[in-house]
């Protein structure tokens, strides 16, 4: 055994270790305090009954989880979350692919169109939600005025238990389409042209090419986009906060919003933390499935 100082010197030849420590201290401190510690501490908090202020913290074991898992609120929020996720996925992914295919067809003005479709992605969700809320106003909102002109009796969107979630989904699709498009565009451009040429020599038409070359080769990309949309739906918050506040009758009370309410309105940090861990578990499972699938997909291509 070398004495510590000697060992240090041996490691630290040419000041490499010192430099590494200096370079990493900020990152380690911030990740430690705001990522690693919180992840573990949420687990501990989920076993407590605590309002975050009083010195009284009661250890209650898994009763927060038990109460949540038997409560209407949690299951309702999961249903709402999956509803949102389903709506956004089935609309924004095919539409994103369609636009990407169009843009990839050698059309003029590709950059112009891309900018149009991508603008909603970089727009703040809060601002977008405020605009859409007014556009969906039952009386004089632009959407209903147009629908009335073409003879459709439009619903009172955000006040209707049936139509509130579709309205939130609409905003989600509007914000996400451009992202899916850009990712698909990149994937389309990575498909070697040779594949198409060979198939064309064999007499395949455009639809066949699309179905048998483009779609299968894009499968890994599609999978990633589906998973990301699912994960993002668990984080849905801004739209709900601005547009519906979880209503009407809890139809848009998604899990991200329920967590916020428990923590910062009811000050029930124990339950809120339990929700956080339930969320984390679900997202971990989704990520794991994606990981397995992406390996499978990669093998498929080879």
């Amino acid at each position: 055994m070398l004495p510590p100082i000697k060992a240090w010197r041996r490691y630290n030849r040419s000041g490499e270790l010192t430099a590494a420590i200096i370079a990493l201290v900020p990152a380690v401190l911030i990740f430690g305090a705001f990522n690693i510690f919180p992840l573990l501490y949420t687990g501990y908090l989920s076993l407590l009954d605590w309002d975050g202020l009083s010195s009284q913290r009661v250890y209650v074991g898994i009763s927060n989880y038990q109460e949540l898992l038997t409560s209407e609120t949690l299951w309702n929020s999961l249903a709402a979350t999956f509803y949102y996720s389903f709506g956004v996925i089935v609309l924004s992914i095919p539409l994103g692919l369609l636009v990407a295919v169009f843009l990839n067809s050698g059309i003029k003005g590709q950059t112009f169109y891309r900018t149009l479709y991508f603008l909603p992605v970089v727009t703040a969700t809060v601002a977008a939600a405020v605009v859409w809320k007014l556009m969906l106003d039952p009386g004089s909102g632009y959407v209903n005025v147009i629908l009335r002109q073409v003879g459709i009796t439009a619903p009172a969107w955000l006040r209707s238990p049936t139509w509130a979630m579709p309205a939130i989904i609409l905003v989600g699709v509007w914000k996400r389409l451009g992202f899916n498009m850009v990712v698909y565009l990149a994937a389309l451009q990575a498909i070697p042209r040779v594949y198409y040429e060979v198939a064309e020599v064999d007499g395949a038409n455009r639809t066949t090419l699309f179905r048998h070359i483009t779609v299968p080769l894009l499968r890994p990309t599609t999978m990633v986009l589906v998973i990301l949309a699912m994960i993002d739906s668990f984080l849905l918050f801004d739209q709900v906060f601005v547009m519906t506040g979880g209503g009407p009758i809890g139809k848009t009370d998604v899990i991200g919003y329920v967590l916020y309410r428990y923590a910062f309105r009811y000050f029930d940090l124990g339950k809120a933390s339990a929700i956080a861990w339930i969320m984390f578990a679900i997202i971990a499972v989704i990520t794991f499935i994606q990981w397995r699938w992406s390996r499978f997909g990669a093998q498929g291509i080879e």
């Binding site: 490499e16 059309i107 703040a124 601002a127 455009r206 984390f280 990520t287």
Partner: protein, 294 residues
């Protein structure tokens, strides 16, 4: 954050494929243009409507909506300013966004340098842990992060808005990939000439990685400017509200005064749109080109 994650993933994937020159298949041009235009108009309709409404005389608020501005009541913007301290919100947002963007570029770059160039025990494990934090959604760590900020006495301060987001796994990952592509001979030569490791970082790596730093800066800017949940949680004082937060509160209070509300929304949206339009090439290049070499 999730978006950032895909970008890096896609980039990785594409990096492995030698990309041929794009030779597009030709579709019938005209119908495609029509379809793209109709779709595009729907996409920007909310922007147009927002702008038009913000310039409407309030007497026309409930008469039939129109989409092309015909009236220009700029006074609506002044009235919105009078109704809520938007100047203050702006100042807060600017300070927060600038702090986060500068911090991201600086600290992510430092950490990325260590991971790309320096040898030290536990390097790969630490890198893996950092990457793993990308998978943790903000909601999961929200409550303890808030408690940490409270224990530090940072509620209603700029530190609370900035410090937790000074560095990101995404930034470290993005820059590390780029640094690995810079020839090692360059820094080795400098080391032989007697430069210290950190001098190498500052004098060689930083200047050579400007394109990657610019990409990270744009991502950070947009993320910070548009963020809502974290500022909502760590501020109570109306004087500490950011633009997005102020807008959401304004909406709750003046929800019926559409013209003012839309003036506020335009103000909250414009900086991000300008930043995107300026940095668009970099931003989308980050996704559409192979690797991050701009």
């Amino acid at each position: 954050m999730i978006v950032e994650l895909t970008l890096s993933r896609i980039r990785l994937k594409l990096g492995q494929i030698a990309r041929p020159k794009i030779v597009p298949r030709k579709l019938a041009r005209f119908p495609v243009h029509i379809a793209l235009l109709v779709g595009g108009i729907i996409m920007i309709l909310p922007f147009l409507w927002m702008l038009t409404t913000s310039l409407k005389p309030s007497s026309l608020m409930y008469s039939g909506p129109y989409i092309i501005p015909t009236h220009f009541e700029w006074v609506n913007y002044l009235e919105a300013l009078r109704a809520a301290p938007f100047t203050r919100y702006y100042l807060n947002s600017i300070i927060m966004t600038a702090g986060i963007t500068i911090g991201q570029v600086l600290f992510s770059s430092l950490a990325a340098y260590a991971f790309a160039r320096l040898r030290f025990p536990g390097r790969d494990l630490l890198f893996l842990i950092f990457l793993g934090t990308m998978m943790i959604p903000i909601h999961v760590t929200l409550i303890p992060s808030f408690l940490v900020v409270k224990w530090l006495g940072w509620i209603d301060t700029y530190q609370a808005l900035i410090v937790p987001r000074l560095v990101s796994a995404f930034g470290i990952f993005l820059l590390r990939q780029y640094y690995l592509s810079i020839p090692k001979e360059l820094d080795e030569a400098a080391l032989i000439d007697g430069a210290s490791r950190l001098t190498v970082w500052w004098r060689i790596i930083i200047p050579l990685s400007r394109p990657a730093l610019a990409t990270l800066a744009i991502f950070s800017f947009l993320f910070a400017w548009n963020d809502f949940l974290w500022p909502l949680v760590v501020t109570n004082n109306p004087d500490m509200r950011t633009v997005q937060l102020g807008l959401a509160m304004f909406q709750g209070k003046y929800g019926t005064q559409w013209t003012l509300l839309m003036a506020g929304t335009v103000a909250a949206t414009v900086p991000a749109i300008i930043a995107f339009l300026i940095g668009q090439r970099k931003f989308i290049q980050g996704i559409t080109t192979t690797g991050i070499k701009g």
